[in-house]
């Protein structure tokens, strides 16, 4: 998703259809269909995991079996048959590619088509002046490449797939995995613990400012396959990292499940900036197909004056259920949530955040921009909670909804729980229909109908978009326009 010339060109010549919907024809290693202890053993074996990891997975599986799927979100979808899905799919490899030259050319071609620079020389040959971005490319269930590892290693930064981290940094993984999102946190998180396949592990040592943006690019390719991403980022005292993730999937008539768990941990004075551009296949105009994006993302601001900032641009998926949150444990820690969620056609999004203020003088900011078009449903759901010991807490929440059609729905569901009277909580919410005057003004300056909508929507989202790293911002802006194509008239 980085801003390579290729990516930008691709986005520019779109025709209005989902443009990442192609399928890569490649030999796959698949687990047997369905979910069972055996399948979990299969996954663990494929990943050459140590015994403790397998035990952990099996325990999570046992817990999941006893849990119920949540139904409180404002989303509707037919019951998921967990036995109808595949839980592991990986491009067949000969002996495990050691360098990119050994990666299957089909895969390299896929990422080239998506505009993802997984060859370092391509990154460097990208747009003039573009920043360096290190990429972890996850294809279905496995990471196929991580770039710039040597350069990062010099800075002491660990950036590798979670599968590798389990083998190479078992102590760190044991210590932090599920420390922010417990195994039983929720149904999808427990499922993820049992069957997670790949994702990224990042460790930034004390006092290190990560020398480049880190990113993971998730691609679902195989049919009927769930993707269970697991990402863990630990920022040690006084460190800083900016991490980006992007996602796409082929167009398929069946719904596919993406149930991720992302955990962030920030120590004293550390800062993590986490940006997402989520562009999973949203389904077709009639609402057929698309990804179920059921994701648990949570950050622990463990240290004093630590800071975590979530920025998300959610344009894809048939159903999104996602609440990137911050547990503000360290005194003076800061949590931010900047979100744009676009829904069109029959898409449904129930997204927002939770800011849990535990420490003294903790602060949080929530800016949410929901844009609904077509017959879609778009809900902001957010919790601001102030614990009794948390003196001097401040929160500012602003939720704006923009309606592009008259058949869509926009909903704002804020929960506020304050157990300390010293807290200052501000909440503002607006809902408006896209203005005919604005549309006509744009059109009277030469913009086509969809360009006009894209322009107004981008303006509406400005406060959020400006928090995206430059490389992402340009593409995200275009994505907003593309997602709303066919929404007017």
């Amino acid at each position: 998703m980085a801003g390579t010339a290729e990516a930008q060109k691709q986005v520019q010549d779109v025709t209005g259809e989902y443009k990442y919907g192609f399928v890569t024809d490649i030999d796959m290693d698949m687990a047997p269909k369905g979910l069972s202890e055996d399948v979990i053993r299969f996954i663990s074996a494929k990943k050459e995991e140590p015994e403790w990891m397998l035990e952990w997975r099996l325990k999570a599986y046992a817990a999941w079996l006893k849990m119920d799927e949540p139904d409180w979100a404002k989303v509707n979808y037919p019951p998921i048959d967990y036995q109808e899905s595949y839980y592991f799919a990986a491009p067949k490899k000969k002996d495990g590619p050691k360098s990119l030259d050994e990666v299957d050319p089909e895969l390299l071609a896929t990422y080239a088509k998506l505009g993802i620079p997984i060859r370092e020389q391509e990154v460097l040959a990208g747009v003039e002046g573009a920043a360096k971005v290190a990429v972890d490319a996850v294809f279905d269930s496995v990471s196929v490449a991580t770039t710039f590892r040597e350069e990062l290693k010099k800075a002491g930064v660990v950036f590798m797939s979670i599968s590798e981290a389990i083998r190479e940094y078992p102590d760190m993984v044991k210590k932090y995995m599920a420390s922010v999102v417990p195994v039983r946190d929720n149904y999808f998180a427990a499922l993820n613990c049992a069957v997670f396949t790949d994702g990224t592990f990042v460790y930034i040592p004390k006092g290190v400012r990560c020398p480049m943006e880190l990113s993971t690019y998730f691609r679902i390719n195989a049919e009927n396959t769930g993707q269970f991403e697991r990402t863990l980022i630990v920022a040690d005292e006084g460190s800083y990292v900016s991490y980006l993730e992007g996602c796409t999937a082929p167009m398929r008539d069946e719904n596919q499940l993406h149930a991720a768990v992302v955990e962030l941990i920030a120590m004293d004075d550390a800062e993590i900036k986490y940006s997402t551009v989520q562009n999973w296949y949203p389904g077709d105009k009639e609402g057929k197909g698309g990804i179920y994006n059921f994701v648990t993302k949570r950050a622990l601001c463990k240290g004093k004056n630590s800071k975590v900032s979530w920025t998300q641009v959610e344009t894809g998926s048939a159903v999104t259920w996602k609440y990137p949150s911050c547990v503000l444990a360290g005194d003076g820690s800061v949590g931010e949530f900047y979100s744009v969620a676009v829904t069109n056609n029959y898409q449904q999004a129930d997204t927002g955040t939770k800011m849990i203020h535990q420490g003294k003088n903790t602060r949080s900011t929530i800016i949410s921009k929901g844009i609904s078009a077509g017959k879609s449903q778009n809900t902001y759901r957010g919790l601001v909670k102030v614990m009794s010991g948390a003196e001097g807490v401040r929160n500012y929440t602003q939720c704006d909804s923009l309606l592009v059609s008259s058949e869509c729905g926009a909903h704002t569901v804020p929960y506020i729980e304050v157990k300390n009277p010293s807290a200052t909580i501000e909440h503002e919410a607006t809902t408006s229909k896209i203005s005919e005057d604005q549309l006509f003004y744009c059109r009277a300056r030469g913009l086509g109908e969809e360009e006009a909508v894209a322009m107004i929507v981008n303006g509406f989202c400005k406060e959020v978009m400006q928090h995206l790293p430059m490389e992402f911002a340009v593409e995200a802006q275009k994505l907003l326009g593309i997602s709303l194509e066919g929404s007017v008239g």
């Binding site: 604005q438 059109r443 009277a444 030469g446 109908e449 406060e463």
Partner: protein
């Protein structure tokens, strides 16, 4: 350049324009004068192709093309510019971004390549300076927090950058102090060339002493009831609409 014949327009089911004829040739500047509610803005919006203005009868021809067949942005690409009576605010979109998107969209419709960023900046700075616009305003969101006068000036900058064949300026003079009026008039005069035309919509004579029209039309209740030279504007000012018409 612009030929309007027997134009009837309904707004919200009510007939507002009731058989209007108007012909403007290249090289000419016309003024339409009329009281509030006469239908002047309705005419301007109809020429620009706004959706809710329903043409029930008559024709509009622009540069030899039937305008009824054209989308608003296609009319702009063909060389039409509408200066709004009430310029619209677009929060979050910078003036520069707006102008650049507009210009490149028009260029694309005309089969031209995008203008380079450097060339564009040079063009906009030049036009803004010429119209006494503070360059900082280019970075601000479109019309957001602009005074009435600043909004009108912004319309003129847009016009100068887009360089239209026909500029329809709807009460561009209202809400301007005398200095701003002179600057705006200067901007309009620069736009008057042999191959362009201007249609000024106003209900004061004031602007017309700075931008001298070739023809003045009086509009009452959705029709042009009288046409004449620039002296007609003065006559209107003296005698009022009732007596002139």
């Amino acid at each position: 350049m612009l030929k309007i014949k027997d134009l009837h327009v309904n707004v919200a089911g009510k007939e507002i324009l009731k058989g209007l004829d108007l012909e403007i040739n290249a090289g000419e500047t016309h003024a339409i004068m009329g009281l509030n509610g006469a239908g002047k803005s309705t005419l301007a919006n109809t020429i620009a192709g706004r959706d809710d203005y329903e043409v029930t009868k008559g024709t509009i021809e622009f540069m030899g093309q039937d305008m009824m067949e054209m989308e608003p942005h296609e009319r702009v690409a063909a060389g039409l510019f509408l200066g709004f009576q009430y310029p619209v605010e677009i929060p979050g979109v910078s003036n520069l971004n707006f102008l650049r998107t507009a210009l490149n969209s028009v260029r694309k419709l005309n089969g031209e390549d995008d203008m380079s960023a450097a060339e564009f900046m040079k063009l906009v700075r030049e036009k803004a300076t010429h119209l006494n616009m503070d360059p900082d305003m280019l970075k601000r969101f479109v019309n957001v927090g602009f005074s009435g006068g600043e909004k009108k000036r912004n319309e003129m900058v847009q016009m100068a950058v887009l360089n239209p064949k026909l500029a329809v300026l709807d009460e561009t003079d209202s809400g301007l102090d005398i200095d701003a009026l002179k600057t705006v008039a200067e901007g309009i005069n620069v736009q008057r060339r042999e191959d362009t035309a201007v249609l000024l919509i106003t209900h004061y004579q004031r602007l017309l002493s700075y931008v001298q029209p070739d023809k003045v039309h009086v509009m009452i209740d959705g029709k042009i009831v009288k046409s004449g030279g620039k002296e007609l504007a003065l006559e209107l000012e003296e005698k009022g609409y009732a007596d002139v018409a």
